[in-house]
Structures are given as C-alpha cells and as structure tokens.
Amino acid sequence: MTRYVMVADLRRCVGCQACTAACKEANATPPGVQWRRVLDIEIGEYPDVKRVFVPTGCQHCADPPCMHVCPTTATRQRDDGIVTIDYRLCIGCGYCAVACPYEARYKVTTPEFAFGADPTSAEDVGFDEGKIGVATKCTFCADRIDAGVAAGLVPGRDPAASPVCVNACVSGALAFGDIDDPGSEVSRLLKDNKSFRMHDELQTEPGFYYLWDH
C-alpha cells in the first residue's frame, strides 16, 4: 500500500513563507485563503523569547472527520491517503469546515482578487468558478503526484511529482513521500527523529508529522 504523508522539521523551518507563496501561485487561492499556512509563534518572556514556525494545512487524516460529516460524498479519501474534494458535488454547507480540528478548510462565496474587483493576469489564468461557494483545501498537489507517478517518477523524491510547497521550501524543512515505503525520505526522517502529530488525541491519525528533536 501507499500512504502519502508530509513531514515538517520544525528545527529547520525559518518562516520564510515560500511554501505558502508557492501554494498560492500554483492553486490560485484567493486573498485570505492559505492552503499551506505557516504559523509564526512567539514563546517565552523577555529576555528569553523565541520564535517557532509551524507549517500547517490539511493533515490528510487517515480517519478524516470532514469526510464522515460531508453529506454529499464530495470529500473522499483516495487509496494513497490523500483526502480530496469533488467541487462538482460539494454544496458548500460548511459542515466539513466546522468538523476539521485543524482549521484547514475554506469557503469563498464570491470571487475575490488581490487588487480589487478585477483579477491580475496570473489570477485570471488560475481562476476557477467551480471553487466558488464550495469547500476547498490543500490537495497535497494530487494532480502533480498523479502525473508524476504516471510518468514513472517517485513523489517526494522527484520534484515534478511532489507538492509545490515541498519543492519551494528553502531550508529542507518540508518532506513528502510514502510512509509505507521504508526507503522513503519521510520514513527515514521519522525513524531518525522524534516527532508528533497535532491533536493526536482526537485519533484522526493525521498524515502530517512534525519533527522537533533527534
């Protein structure tokens, strides 16, 4: 079996938001919608203050609450673990958004662009009427993965078959791949480092791991 997951090394992330920008560019998400977010957290008190950067987004849970509540079956899970939304089925009820513990879903009811009512040329190219009034979220760039696999590439190893956020990461903080493949980069990282998953107590089994120590 194949189970695609993402690994974020919190020790490496510098909060440059290159992943966020790459995602917005690739998916033409409107203002305020960040399928790949990076939390910028201050901890401690003066003079002992630190910043921590935490990439977040859809965790592609093995047991996704969003899929269970979806009344239309628009939200589904592929055999490789990626949770998808069929925009043609979604009615935009927002139930998945309130069921997601990771605040990973968005719904935009009217077309919005970065600089007013008219889209920039780049926004015009990426604009999709089908994403208005429905739930949207990170897809792990499933289209790139599918095209890459069809071309004989390995997701997570070959950039053309990997999510754009991983490709854009300047510090190597983001890794992607098949956790069921013991030889994959993500399997090696998880074997060699201490990790956690967010809201693990909810038993959603997120497919997003955070490395924090050796």
């Binding site: 090394d9 919190l10 020790r11 977010r37 990076v38 939390l39 910028d40 957290i41 201050e42 901890i43 401690g44 630190k50 921590v52 935490v54 977040t56 609450p65 899929m67 269970h68 509540v69 979806c70 009344p71 239309t72 079956t73 628009a74 089925l89 979604c90 009615i91 935009g92 009820c93 927002g94 139930y95 958004a97 309130v98 069921a99 997601c100 513990p101 990771y102 605040e103 719904k107 009811t109 208005i132 009034g133 429905v134 201490k194 956690f196 967010m198 809201h199 693990d200 909810l202 959603t204 955070y210 490395l211 924090w212 120590d213």
Partner: protein, 273 residues
Amino acid sequence: MKQLVQTKLQRYWDIRAAANFSFGGTGSGLIMAAAIGAPSRPVMVVGLGFIGLGLLSVWLEIGRPWRAINVLFHPRTSWMTRESMLAPLLFAAGAATVFDARFAVLAAALAAGYLYCQARMLHASRGIPAWCQNESVPLMLATGVAEGTGLYLALGDASVAMIALALCAGIVREVAREIYRRALFRAKAPAGTLAWFSLREEKLLTVTRLVAIALLLAALGGWPTAAFGGLLVVATGWGLKTMLITRAAFTRGHVIQHTPTRGRDASHVVTPA
C-alpha cells in the same frame, strides 16, 4: 504577518444555521407534544411549518443551493444527510396526521429522530469543542422538547398534564445546560467558549428561563400564565441555540506538543491563547 496561535470564532455557520436548529427543534418538539396531547390540524401545520422554515434558512446559507439535493448522498456516516432524509418522511407523516390522527405517533417518532439527528450533527463537528462536547446532545434534545411543549401551551392547550410536561421539560433543560456548562469547564474548552457564560445576554437568557419555569409552576397552581410561560421557553431555547452557534463556537486552535530544540534549548508545549 504574524499568526499567533489562538482559537477563532467559526464563521461558516451563522444565524441561518442557528435558525435551522432553533426552528427544527421547536417544530419537532411541537409534533411530539401534539402526539401526547391532541394532534390537531393547526398544531401539526405549525410544527411542520417551523421545520420547513428551518430548512429554508439553512438552504439560504449553503454556497451552492441549487445542488441541495446532493445532501442526500451520504447516509452512512453524515448526520446532515440523515436529517435531510428524515425531513420528507416527517412531512409526509405530518400531512397524513392532518387527515387521520392515527398517524400522529408515526410523525412524533420521526420528529424525535429529526431532533436527534440535529443534536448529533452538532456533536460530530469535531473542530468546535463547544459542539462536540458529549453533553451537547442531551442539551439539544432537552431544549427541543421544552420548546415544543412550550409552544404547544402557547397555542392554546393548557391542560394540567401538558403544563406539567412542559415544566418537567424546562427543568430537565436547565439541568442539561448546567451539566453541559460544567463539562465544558472540565474539558478546558476555549476561553471564548467559556466566556459565553459570562455574557450579559446569556445572563439575561438564564433569568428568562427561570422566569419561564416560574410561570409554568404558577400555571400549575391555576394562574393563567401557561401560554406566556410557554412562549418564554421557546424564546429562550432559540436564544440558547443562537448563542451556541454564533457566539460560543470557537475552534480548537493549533496545539504544538513540542517546540523544536535548537542547541541547548528546552522544548515547550504551545497551546492556544
């Protein structure tokens, strides 16, 4: 842009969704009350009307209303689908009751199922601690029954048995709300959710609920306060659900179990503000 870790008030479900829970709860409660009392034609029509109004409200909220039929596609796990599937059956049974009172029991059973679906729908929202708290289910059920019996009194049937039933339902709702409130504090729900109980509007609602119970108690003693007491039970139920959906529904926020260790740094836990 700095993004601190904090919980947020959800903006996906607004007053229109709250109206579905309010009107749906009242309508289904009324149909159940009618089955116990006298399932008269006007009462049944009012009950179904409230449920229809609730569904219309939520239909106005969804992003793609002309695809609303898709809501029926996932009965295996979605409580929203189950609620939507029960609605036409409930309308059919309710309409049948208008012509033949023997269908009232069937309509009441379907109304109970409808109310249960609504309660479970909120409970399945795992991103919102105030909703997925286990104790929200009995609270939603209790307030639906209280509203239904209250409205039944307001519509004119102030028999002693129905007043007693409405009074019991009101008291049960009060107990369920207190159990729910304590459970939220025990579970360390988001600060915004817990602040709900200190809001001036919530205190006003609490006082009004107690006044409603007092009026029903007085009605049992022969005072002509049953209808007004019943109306207050309904109004406070709507208020409770409106607050629950639109004011107390904060997200979990992001919890960082371990901040990264760099050099001699110690790791920390970061929880939402």
